[in-house]
């Protein structure tokens, strides 16, 4: 009996909503509820000062977080310069800079390596 409909091929190529890694997402949402209102318009990425200098897509990174794919967060988030252009562009009024700061905090907070210190 299998009800996997053949989706067990390559876990890295699917978004598995049954095994959702939402620890960081929950933390961000708890402190910034506007985060959920993103409509993926891409305005933030287009205007982004960091994205203007290097490959950095804040929208995709945030979407990954909402889809339970936080793997690339750590490498990406540090590129943001907190310049604030994105918040002036976002049609949903999302506090993107707060999201960035919260992700940075969450990465330290939920890093297993830091368990000792957090206790």
């Amino acid at each position: 009996m299998s009800n996997k409909f053949g989706f067990d091929i390559s876990p890295s190529r699917t978004i598995d909503f049954d095994k959702f890694d939402n620890q960081i997402l929950q933390y961000v949402l708890q402190h910034e509820s506007s985060f959920m209102t993103c409509m993926s318009c891409g305005g933030c990425t287009a205007t982004c000062s960091a994205g203007n200098l290097i490959d950095f897509n804040i929208r995709k990174m945030s979407l990954g977080l909402r889809r339970g794919k936080p793997e690339s967060l750590a490498a990406e988030i540090d590129k943001c310069m907190l310049c604030g252009k994105c918040i002036l562009v976002c049609p949903r009024g999302i506090n993107i800079r707060n999201v960035v700061m919260l992700i940075k905090k969450a990465l330290v907070k939920f890093n297993p390596k830091n368990d000792e210190r957090n206790n």
Binding site: H31, L53, M81, L82, G84, K85, N98, M101, K104
Partner: protein, 608 residues
């Protein structure tokens, strides 16, 4: 029983006073020892100079007379002054009175505090009467302050304060004791006056009144004991209460005068500032977050949370760093920098390294123009600046036309100083490489960081409002004055942040009719858009923006002029007032004049 009381009733006072003295000295010594080496050298260097005298003067005018509180709110000022200055005079004059009657200075200190208990022949001749009447007058003065303080707790509105601060238990003891001290003193002295006829107009009147209906003798000792105990309790509770601000503020005044200053990390000088807050609540009134119903993140609460070690990010980061509270704080606490210090502590681990930054080549030019991230979203500003540069024939390089890192200031407002340093270094290299003599910034946020944190020797750093004024003075651009009535909005980072108030006004004087308004210069509003606040929601920003616009509308201006792209963008949400940047005003004027000239030329051509 009464005998024991009469023998020992001074003890609560004496013990309390000694305890307080020791604790305060220990704290002061600890704080001063904790200062950085440079600061300690500063103190040593300045202690025997005029600065000490200046500090004494300031301690009197602020610590006792509360001159600054008076300025913002006279009723509140009177309350603070009557308590502090009145009490101070009671002690001093009481002491002199005791010396006069004792004929010597060698008597225990408590004797002057409980003078009327010990000395029964304190009236009779002119000088003695003068003393006793003065002392009663002073007591009345202090009591009026106490009465106002009672009333403030019940009804803070009359002081113009929207909210007074909440109390913790140490405060409650100290406050109750303080409230009791002077009524008890009044009663104790009146009882003695009723019995011994040694009072002034107030205590004698009350004493006679009471004596006519009660026999006061059995109760008089208890009354003096109660008075002594209220003093003792107050002194013992003081170090762990808000009233610690009284001695701390005095220390702060001296250290500040000696040149001690805040560092990037929290140290004992930060602590001294934190403990100097009198919780007068004036900062609550200054704060526009109130307009957005954000009521618990203001400076007084931050200082309190620092003292209680309960500061959360939600409080710490919900502040525009507009500086309005700092501007109004009567104690002169550096509220912005203190908050930033806390932010540095809070985000210390998250500083990015921005390894991806590359060095890109600079262009040689006389003037570097840095529009700033925000200005790319307000193209009217950058286009105006480009027009003016060309008009004036300036050899300039538009440094961030295509790409450049952010200036670093928004990171610093978040406390990310190390990260900001990386961006600063990258931009700095290019600015120096350009060989320019002047750097012009269109954004006050950039301007402030260029000025304070970029080390750019031999390069003149100017905000475009200063630069354009300079061009007018150098007759590189002409001016003429249309009839537009305008209001100028001082951006926080340019005004309170960088002290640039006059240049934009002078410039606007050449091109418009500037209407003076109440909330201008250091009293100006924040637009609500500040990047320093990452917690505030957009609809809350809008409320702050609207409250400012509603004020401005009262003056019925043709438009609102500002000199910051972020202010402009924030105000753009309003539907009532047209908002323009100061550069647009200048540019439009030049363009109008240009078309005028063209028309005239055409007329001349057709005529000839």
């Amino acid at each position: 029983m009464n005998e024991i009381i009469s023998q020992y009733f001074t003890w609560p006072f004496t013990i309390g006073a000694i305890y307080l003295g020791i604790i305060v000295i220990i704290r002061f010594v600890r704080w001063v020892i904790g200062l950085s080496k440079i600061d300690k050298i500063r103190i040593l260097k300045n202690v025997f100079t005029i600065k000490t005298w200046d500090s004494i003067k300031e301690a009197v005018s602020e610590g006792l007379l509360h001159r600054k509180i008076f300025k913002t709110n006279s009723l509140l000022g009177y309350m603070h002054m009557s308590l502090a200055f009145g009490w101070f005079l009671l002690i001093i004059i009481g002491h002199i009175e005791t010396i006069y009657h004792e004929g010597t200075m060698a008597f225990p200190f408590y004797k002057s505090i409980f003078f009327r208990y010990f000395v029964h022949e304190s009236t009779g001749n002119f000088i003695a009467n003068l003393f006793s009447e003065t002392m009663d007058l002073l007591l009345l003065f202090v009591l009026s302050g106490v009465f106002l303080a009672y009333y403030k707790r019940i009804n803070s509105r009359i002081y113009g304060i929207k909210r007074t601060t909440k109390l913790k238990s140490g405060d409650k003891i100290a406050l109750s004791a303080l409230w009791l001290i002077f009524p008890l003193r009044l009663l104790a002295e009146s009882f003695s006056a009723g019995i011994h006829n040694n009072g002034g107009f107030l205590t004698q009147l009350l004493g006679n009144l009471l004596y006519s209906s009660f026999s006061l003798e059995p109760a008089v000792d208890y009354m003096w004991l109660a008075y002594s105990m209220s003093l003792g309790f107050f002194f013992i509770a003081l170090p762990n209460s808000r009233y610690m601000h009284i001695p701390t503020e005095i220390l702060l005044i001296f250290l500040r005068k000696y040149g001690v200053n805040l560092k990037k990390r929290f140290n004992t000088y930060s602590q001294i500032q934190v403990f100097s807050c009198s919780r007068c609540g004036i900062c609550l009134d200054s704060c526009q977050l109130m307009n957005a119903e954000i009521k618990n993140t203001q400076s007084v609460y931050v200082l309190k949370s620092i003292r209680n070690k309960s500061l959360t990010d939600e409080t710490l980061f919900n502040c525009l760093l507009c500086g309005r509270c700092q501007n109004d704080c009567p104690v002169g606490i550096e509220l912005n920098d203190l908050r930033i210090t806390q932010r540095i502590e809070s985000t210390f681990e998250y500083n990015s390294s921005y390894e991806y930054l590359e060095h890109t080549k600079a262009e040689k030019a006389d003037v570097v123009y840095f529009a700033g991230c925000m200005t790319h979203l307000t193209p009217a500003i950058k286009k105006s600046m480009q027009y003016i540069f060309n008009y004036a024939g300036i050899n300039y390089w538009f440094m961030d036309e295509d790409k450049a890192p952010c200036c670093g200031r928004p990171l610093m407002q978040m406390g990310q100083y190390d990260a900001a340093q990386k961006l600063i270094e990258n931009n700095r290299q290019r600015i120096i490489e350009s060989g320019a003599h002047t750097l012009v910034a269109s954004c006050p946020i950039c301007y402030k960081v260029f000025k304070e944190d970029y080390s750019l020797p031999h390069i003149k750093i100017m905000h475009h409002s200063e630069y354009l004024l300079d061009l007018v003075y150098k007759t590189k651009i002409p001016y003429f004055k249309p009839a537009n009535r305008i209001i100028y909005h001082d951006p926080c980072e340019l005004g309170r942040g960088s002290n640039i108030y006059e240049q934009p006004r002078e410039l606007l004087g050449f091109y418009t009719q500037l209407i003076p308004i109440q909330a201008e210069k250091d009293r100006s509003y924040c637009c609500g858009g500040s990047l320093a606040n990452i917690k505030i929601q957009m609809h809350e920003r809008e409320k702050i923006m609207n409250s400012a616009i509603n004020e401005y509308l009262k003056y019925e201006p043709d438009f609102l002029v500002t000199s910051c792209p972020l202010c402009k963008k924030t105000f753009a949400k309003n539907r009532e007032l047209i908002v323009k940047d100061i550069a647009e005003i200048v540019c439009e004027s030049l363009q109008n004049q240009y078309t005028e000239l063209q028309k005239q030329n055409e007329v001349l051509l057709t005529q000839s």
